[in-house]
C-alpha cells in the first residue's frame, strides 16, 4: 500500500480505493448523519477531505474505527481555514483536548457547526467559545484584545485597541461585570444582521 502511495498521487488513489469500500463506509457514517447537518454523501466527501489531509496517517478503511488524530498543522493548512485569523481557536475549540488535533468526529463536528444549515444558537455558542481565548467561559478584556489584534493584524495602536475593547464591553455587557458572558454574547449576536452569513464555512 505504501508503495502504491509513492507511485500515484494520494488523492487519486484515495478515490480509487474509496469506491471499493464506500458502501461499507457510508453505512458506517450514516449514524453521524443524525448528529450533523450533512447528508451521507456530504459526510463521505468530508471524510475524503479529512483523509486527504494526512493520507499516511488516516486509513481509508474507517470501518474499524481507528483512533487517529490529524495534527493541527495539517488542519490549519486547509484552504478553507488557512486564511482565517481564528483557525487555531477553531481547531482548539472543536478538538477533544483543546490542542487542535482532530479526530474525524471532531472534524465532522466542526464543519457541521459551520455549515449553513446550523441554527443561529449553535453557531453563537461555538462563536463564543472561539472568541473566548482563555477558556474561562467569559469573554474578558484580554480576549477582546486578542480578537482585535487578530482581526487587524496588530495594525492599531494600543490606545485604539483598548478603546475598542472598552466600547465593546460598554455595548454588549448586559450585567456590567466587565466581561461578556455567554448570555451577553448571544443577546448581542442575535441582533447582528450578518452573523449567520459570515460565520459559515462552505466545504
Amino acid at each position: 500500500m505504501s508503495l502504491l502511495y509513492h507511485m500515484t498521487s494520494p488523492s487519486v488513489l484515495s478515490r480509487i480505493l474509496a469506491r471499493s469500500i464506500s458502501l461499507r463506509q457510508s453505512a458506517l457514517f450514516s449514524k453521524n448523519k443524525d448528529c450533523t447537518f450533512f447528508t451521507r454523501k456530504e459526510i463521505m466527501r468530508l471524510f475524503y477531505r479529512y483523509q486527504d489531509l494526512a493520507p499516511q496517517l488516516v486509513p481509508l478503511d474507517y470501518t474499524s474505527c481507528p483512533d487517529v488524530k490529524v495534527p493541527y498543522e495539517l488542519i490549519g493548512s486547509m484552504p478553507e481555514l488557512k486564511d482565517n485569523p481564528f483557525r487555531q481557536r477553531i481547531a482548539q475549540v472543536f478538538s477533544e483536548d483543546g490542542d487542535g488535533h482532530m479526530t474525524l468526529d471532531n472534524f465532522l463536528d466542526m464543519f457541521s457547526v459551520m455549515s449553513e444549515m446550523a441554527p443561529r444558537d449553535l453557531k453563537a455558542y461555538y462563536a463564543f467559545k472561539i472568541y473566548d481565548f482563555n477558556n474561562d467561559d467569559y469573554i474578558c478584556a484580554w480576549d477582546l484584545e486578542q480578537t482585535v489584534t487578530k482581526l487587524t493584524r496588530g495594525e492599531l495602536s494600543t490606545e485604539e485597541v483598548s478603546l475598542i475593547c472598552e466600547k465593546v464591553l460598554d455595548e454588549a455587557d448586559g450585567d456590567h461585570d466587565g466581561r461578556l458572558s455567554l448570555e451577553d454574547f448571544q443577546n448581542m449576536i442575535l441582533r447582528a444582521p450578518d452573523f449567520l452569513s459570515t460565520f459559515h464555512i462552505r466545504i
Binding site: A27, S30, K31, N32, K33, D34, C35, T36, F37, R40, T63, C65, K82, D83, N84, P85, F86, D105, N106, L108, D109, S112, V113, E116, M117, A118, P119, R120, D121, L122, Y125, Y126, D137, T147, V148, L151, T152, R153, L156, E160, L163, I164, V168, E171, G174, D175, H176, D177, L182, E183, Q186, M188, I189, R191, A192, P193, F195, S197, T198, H200
Partner: protein, 903 residues
C-alpha cells in the same frame, strides 16, 4: 440571505420537531389506551428468544415483591443485556426514532456489516461507564410501568422528550462522540417504549422537503453571487473601500451611478435621434447643412481642425446643425424634429426623476437602520470576519477593511465624545465662515470685474495675449488657490471630517458657480452676436440663390444644375457653435483631469518613492509625501462635468457618447491611480450613509443647467438654415405643429385648454399646497421616529441597569449555593467530564426555549455551571427546576438521576 437562511433552518427544525411530537402523541394515546397490548406485540417481534424473558419479568415486576433490592439489581442486569441485544437489531427497527431523518435509505440500514458490530461493541464499553444512569432508567421505568398511570404518563413524556432530543441532536453543542452516544440511547429508549409505528410516507416527504430546502438555499446563494457579479466594478470599489475607507469609495460609487445615468441618456439620444437620422435621413453631402463649405474643404480633414471639432466633425451627426427640418424621414415616416425636441426634454425629465428618486430611496435606507447603532463595535469585532474567505488576497483586503472600519468608528467615537469649550469652537466657526464668505465675495467680485473688462477688450482691436485670456487665467488661478485656502480655514472649525467635507464641498461649489457664470455669459454674448448677423447672411443666401438661377449667359432651355451644396453661403448656426463649445470644454476638462492625476499623483508618487533613497530628507514622511485622494475636488469635478453634459446635450447630441467614454476611462484610470499612488487620509472617516449631499449638489447643478437651455429654447429663434427646427419662429413650435397636423382636432383643443394660464396657475398653487402638506407630514413622522428611537435607547439603559443589579444579586446567591454544594461536587466528579459541556448547553437550550425565563433562570444557572460540573445537583434543583419547566429534553437524557429520589 442570512435571514432567509435562518428561516429555512428553523422551518426545517420546526418541521421535524412537530412531526416527531405529533407522531409520539398518537402512539402515546394508543399506548395509554392499551398498555398491555403493546408489550406482547413487541415481544413477538423480538428476534432473539431470550428477550422475551426480561419482558415477562418486567410484566411480573408489578408484584409487590419487586421492591426487594436484590431482585431489582438482577432485573437491571437483564435490562442491560436487553439493551445490548436491541442495539444490534436497532439498525433495522429504529425507524420510530429516526423517521424524522428522512435521508436515511432503508437499504443501507438493513445491511449492517461486521465492522459495524465492532463499533457497537466499542461503544457499548463506553456505555458501561454510564451504567448507573441507564440502570436507573431501567429501574425507574420497570417499576413505573407496573405501578401507576402517572408513571406511565411520565414515561410517555420521556419518550416524547427523547424524540425531541433526537430531532434536535444536530444542533446540540456537544462533541460528536457524545452526540452519537446520546442519540443511540435516545433511539433505544424511544423504540423500546413506543413500539411499532406507522412510517415510511412521512419520511419520504420529509426527505424531499429537506432536499428542496437545501437546493433552494443553494440556488439563492448562487443567484446572490450572480447578482453581485453583475454589478460592474464592485470588486474594484470594494478593494478601494477596504484600503481608503468608505469616503473615498463613495466617490467611486457616485461615479458608477453617474455612468449608469449617462448610459440611459446615451441610449435615449442615440436610439431616438442619431441613429434614425443617420439611417433614414438625407445622406451626407446632399444639402448645405450636411456639407463642409467650400472655404473649409481643404483643411477639413486635418487633425488639428478635427481636434477643435471643426471641419468634418462640425458637419456630422454629433451636432445640432446636421439635422434636417424635414417633418418626417424614411419609410417609417419618423418625425425627427419632434423626436429631437422630445428627447431633449426627456433627458432633463429623466435626470430629474432619477436624482430625486435616488435621494428619496437613500433617505428611506438611512432611517431603517436603528439597531446596529447600539452595537457598532461589537458587530465589527464579532461578525466582520467572513469565515468564507479562502484566498489570501481577499484575506489581506479583509484585514485592511476591518482595520479601516475600526478606524472610522474610532473617529466617530472620538468626535462624539469631544465636547470641550463650546464657546471657543463656536467663535472659531463663525470666524472661519466669515473669512470664507469674504474670500467668496472677493473672488466673485474679481470674476465680475474681469468679465466686464473682457467685454471691453473684445470690442477693441489688437489686444495682447494676456488681455484676451484674462478671464481664463483668473478663473484657473482662483480654482487653484481657493480650495486649499478654504481647507486651511476649515481647520479652524474643528468639524468631524465628514461634516467638514460637506462644508468644503459647498464652498468650492459656490466658487465654481462663478466659473459657470462667466462661461455662460461669454456664450450668451457669442450667441447674440451671431443672431444679429443672421439676418444679413439670410439675405445674402437668398440673393445668391436667386442670382444663380436667374443669371444670364446660360442656355434658357436647359434648366441649370442645382448649386453644389458646398457653395451655398450659410449662416453661422449658433446652436452648433454652442454644442462645439461644450464639446471642447468636456474634452479639455477630461484631459486636464487625467494629466493632473498623472503628474500630481503618479509622478509625485514615483518621485517620492524612488528619490527617497538619495535625498537629504525623508520624502515620504516630509514635504512632498504621497498625495491623498481629493474627494471634494473629484466629486465637484464630476458634478460640474455632468452639468456641462446636460447643458450641451441639446445642441450636441454626441456629447453624451463622449461623456460615457470619459466616465468609463475615468473609472479605470482613477481606480488605478488611487490604488497605485495615493495614500489613505490621515483620519479615515466613514461616508455618510446616504450620499444625499452629492445628490443635492447634483440636483442644484441640474437645475442651474436647465435654466439656460430652457431660456434658449423658449426665447431665441433657431437658425434659419441648420438644425431640425430651422424655418420656425421658436423651437417649441414643433409641438404645436405636430398637434395641429397629426392629432385629431379635439386633442388640439384640449392642449390649448391645458395651456391656458387660468388652469396652470391653480395647478401650480395646488402643487405648492400638496408639497407643504407632505412636508409637514414627513416632518411630524420623523419627529415621532426620533422620539421612538430615544425611547428604545432609554429602555435599553433601564434594562441594562436592571440586569446589572440582578446579576450582582444572583452572583451572590450562586456563591452561597456553591458552598452548600461543595460536598456534592466531590461525590459527583465521575460524571463531571460528561456533564460539563452539558451544563453549558443547558443554558443555551433554555435561552432558545424561553427568552422570558432566561433572564432569571439563566442568571442563576450560569454562574453555578462554572463551578459545579453537575448543574442538576440536588442543592440547586428546586429553583432551577421551577424556572425551566421546558428543559426536559436534556434532563431526561443525561440527568436520569431526576427519577431517583433525592438523598
Amino acid at each position: 440571505m442570512s435571514h432567509q437562511l435562518k428561516g429555512q433552518g428553523e422551518e426545517g427544525g420546526g418541521g421535524t420537531r412537530g412531526r416527531a411530537r405529533s407522531g409520539s402523541l398518537g402512539t402515546g394515546d394508543r399506548s395509554r389506551r392499551s398498555p398491555s397490548m403493546k408489550r406482547p406485540h413487541r415481544a413477538e417481534k423480538a428476534p432473539v428468544p431470550r428477550r422475551a424473558q426480561p419482558g415477562q419479568k418486567k410484566r411480573t415486576g408489578g408484584s409487590p415483591g419487586s421492591g426487594s433490592p436484590r431482585r431489582k439489581q438482577a432485573e437491571r442486569r437483564g435490562r442491560r443485556e436487553l439493551l445490548g441485544d436491541r442495539e444490534r437489531g436497532s439498525a433495522e427497527k429504529t425507524c420510530g426514532g429516526r423517521r424524522k431523518d428522512g435521508r436515511a435509505s432503508l437499504r443501507e440500514q438493513r445491511a449492517p456489516s461486521k465492522k459495524e458490530k465492532e463499533v457497537r461493541r466499542k461503544e457499548e464499553m463506553w456505555k458501561q461507564l454510564k451504567k448507573h444512569r441507564s440502570s436507573s432508567v431501567a429501574s425507574s421505568t420497570s417499576s413505573g410501568e407496573s405501578l401507576s398511570e402517572e408513571e406511565l404518563a411520565r414515561i410517555l413524556e420521556q419518550v416524547e422528550d427523547k424524540k425531541k432530543l433526537i430531532a434536535s441532536m444536530r444542533s446540540k453543542p456537544w462533541p460528536m462522540a457524545r452526540k452519537l452516544a446520546e442519540l443511540r440511547e435516545a433511539q433505544e429508549f424511544v423504540e423500546k417504549y413506543e413500539g411499532a409505528l406507522g412510517k415510511g410516507k412521512g419520511k419520504r416527504l420529509y426527505a424531499y422537503r429537506m432536499l428542496m430546502a437545501k437546493k433552494w438555499v443553494k440556488f439563492k446563494r448562487d443567484f446572490h453571487n450572480f447578482k453581485t457579479q453583475c454589478i460592474p466594478w464592485e470588486m474594484k470599489i470594494k478593494d478601494i473601500e477596504s484600503h481608503f475607507g468608505s469616503s473615498v469609495a463613495s466617490y467611486f460609487i457616485f461615479l458608477r451611478w453617474m455612468y449608469g445615468v449617462n448610459l440611459v441618456l446615451f441610449g435615449l439620444i442615440f436610439g431616438l435621434v442619431i441613429i434614425p437620422e443617420v439611417l433614414m435621413g438625407m445622406p451626407y453631402g446632399s444639402i448645405p447643412r450636411k456639407t463642409v463649405p467650400r472655404a473649409e474643404e481643404e483643411k477639413a480633414m486635418d487633425f488639428s481642425v478635427l481636434w477643435d471639432f471643426e471641419g468634418y466633425m462640425k458637419y456630422s451627426a454629433l451636432f445640432y446643425g446636421y439635422y434636417n427640418n424635414q417633418r418626417t424621414i424614411g419609410w417609417l415616416r419618423y418625425r425627427l424634429p419632434m423626436a429631437y425636441f422630445m428627447v431633449g426634454v426627456s433627458v432633463f425629465g429623466y435626470s430629474l426623476m432619477i436624482v430625486i428618486r435616488s435621494m428619496a430611496s437613500n433617505n428611506q435606507g438611512s432611517t431603517s437602520e436603528g439597531e446596529s447603532d447600539n452595537f457598532t463595535f461589537s458587530f465589527k469585532m464579532f461578525t466582520s470576519w467572513d469565515y468564507l474567505i479562502g484566498n489570501s488576497e481577499t484575506a489581506d483586503n479583509k484585514y485592511a477593511s476591518i482595520t479601516t472600519s475600526f478606524k472610522e468608528s474610532i473617529v466617530d467615537e472620538q468626535e462624539s465624545n469631544k465636547e470641550e469649550n463650546v464657546h471657543l469652537t463656536r467663535f472659531l466657526r463663525v470666524l472661519a465662515n466669515f473669512l470664507i464668505i469674504c474670500c467668496l465675495c472677493g473672488s466673485g467680485y474679481l470674476i465680475y470685474f474681469v468679465v466686464k473688462r473682457s467685454q471691453e477688450f473684445s470690442k477693441m482691436q489688437n489686444v495682447s495675449w494676456y488681455e484676451r485670456n484674462e478671464v481664463e487665467i483668473v478663473m484657473s488661478l482662483l480654482g487653484m488657490f481657493c480650495p486649499p485656502l478654504f481647507e486651511t480655514i476649515a481647520a479652524l472649525e474643528n468639524y468631524h471630517p465628514r461634516i467638514g467635507l460637506k462644508w468644503q464641498l459647498g464652498r468650492i461649489f459656490a466658487l465654481f458657480l462663478g466659473n459657470l457664470y462667466t462661461f455662460l455669459l461669454a456664450l450668451m454674448d457669442d450667441i447674440q452676436l451671431k443672431l444679429s448677423n443672421e439676418e444679413t447672411i439670410k439675405n445674402i443666401t437668398h440673393w445668391t440663390l436667386f442670382h444663380y438661377y436667374n443669371s444670364s449667359g446660360w442656355n434658357e432651355s436647359v434648366p441649370r444644375p442645382p448649386l453644389h451644396p458646398a457653395d451655398v453661403p450659410r449662416g453661422s448656426c449658433w446652436e452648433t457653435a454652442v454644442g462645439i463649445e461644450f464639446m471642447r470644454l468636456t474634452v479639455s476638462d477630461m484631459l486636464v483631469t487625467y494629466i493632473t492625476i498623472l503628474l500630481g499623483d503618479f509622478l509625485r508618487a514615483c518621485f517620492v518613492r524612488f528619490m527617497n533613497y538619495c535625498w537629504c530628507w525623508d520624502l515620504e514622511a516630509g514635504f512632498p509625501s504621497y498625495a491623498e485622494f481629493d474627494i471634494s475636488g473629484n466629486v465637484l469635478g464630476l458634478i460640474f462635468n455632468q452639468g456641462m453634459i446636460w447643458m450641451g446635450s441639446f445642441y450636441a447630441p454626441g456629447l453624451v457618447g463622449i461623456n460615457v467614454l470619459r466616465l468609463l476611462t475615468s473609472m479605470y484610470f482613477q481606480c488605478w491611480a488611487v490604488m497605485s499612488s495615493n495614500v489613505p487620509h490621515e483620519r479615515v472617516f466613514k461616508a455618510s450613509r446616504s450620499n444625499n449631499f452629492y445628490m443635492g449638489l447634483l440636483l442644484l447643478v441640474l437645475f442651474l443647467s436647465l435654466l439656460p437651455v430652457a431660456y434658449t429654447i423658449m426665447s431665441l429663434p433657431p437658425s434659419f438654415d441648420c438644425g431640425p427646427f430651422s424655418g420656425k419662429n421658436r423651437m417649441y413650435d414643433v409641438i404645436q405643429e405636430t398637434v395641429e397636423n397629426d392629432f385629431p382636432t379635439f386633442l388640439g383643443k384640449i392642449f390649448a385648454f391645458l395651456a391656458n394660464p387660468g388652469l396652470i396657475i391653480p395647478a401650480i398653487l395646488l402643487m405648492f399646497l400638496a408639497i407643504y402638506y407632505l412636508n409637514s407630514v414627513s416632518k411630524s413622522l420623523s419627529r415621532a421616529n426620533a422620539q421612538l428611537r430615544k425611547k428604545i435607547q432609554a429602555l435599553r439603559e433601564v434594562e441594562k441597569s436592571h440586569k446589572s443589579v440582578k446579576g450582582r444579586a444572583t452572583a451572590r446567591d450562586s456563591e452561597d449555593t456553591d458552598k452548600n454544594n461543595s460536598k456534592n461536587d466531590t461525590q459527583l466528579t465521575k460524571e463531571g467530564t460528561a456533564h460539563h459541556s452539558a451544563s453549558q448547553s443547558l443554558t443555551l437550550d433554555q435561552k432558545a426555549q424561553g427568552p422570558g425565563a432566561s433572564s432569571s433562570a439563566g442568571k442563576t444557572v450560569l454562574p453555578a455551571s462554572q463551578h459545579l460540573p453537575v448543574s442538576r445537583a440536588p442543592g440547586v434543583r428546586p429553583d432551577s427546576g421551577q424556572a425551566r419547566p421546558q428543559a426536559h429534553p436534556w434532563r431526561s437524557t443525561s440527568g436520569k438521576r431526576a427519577w431517583r429520589p433525592p438523598h
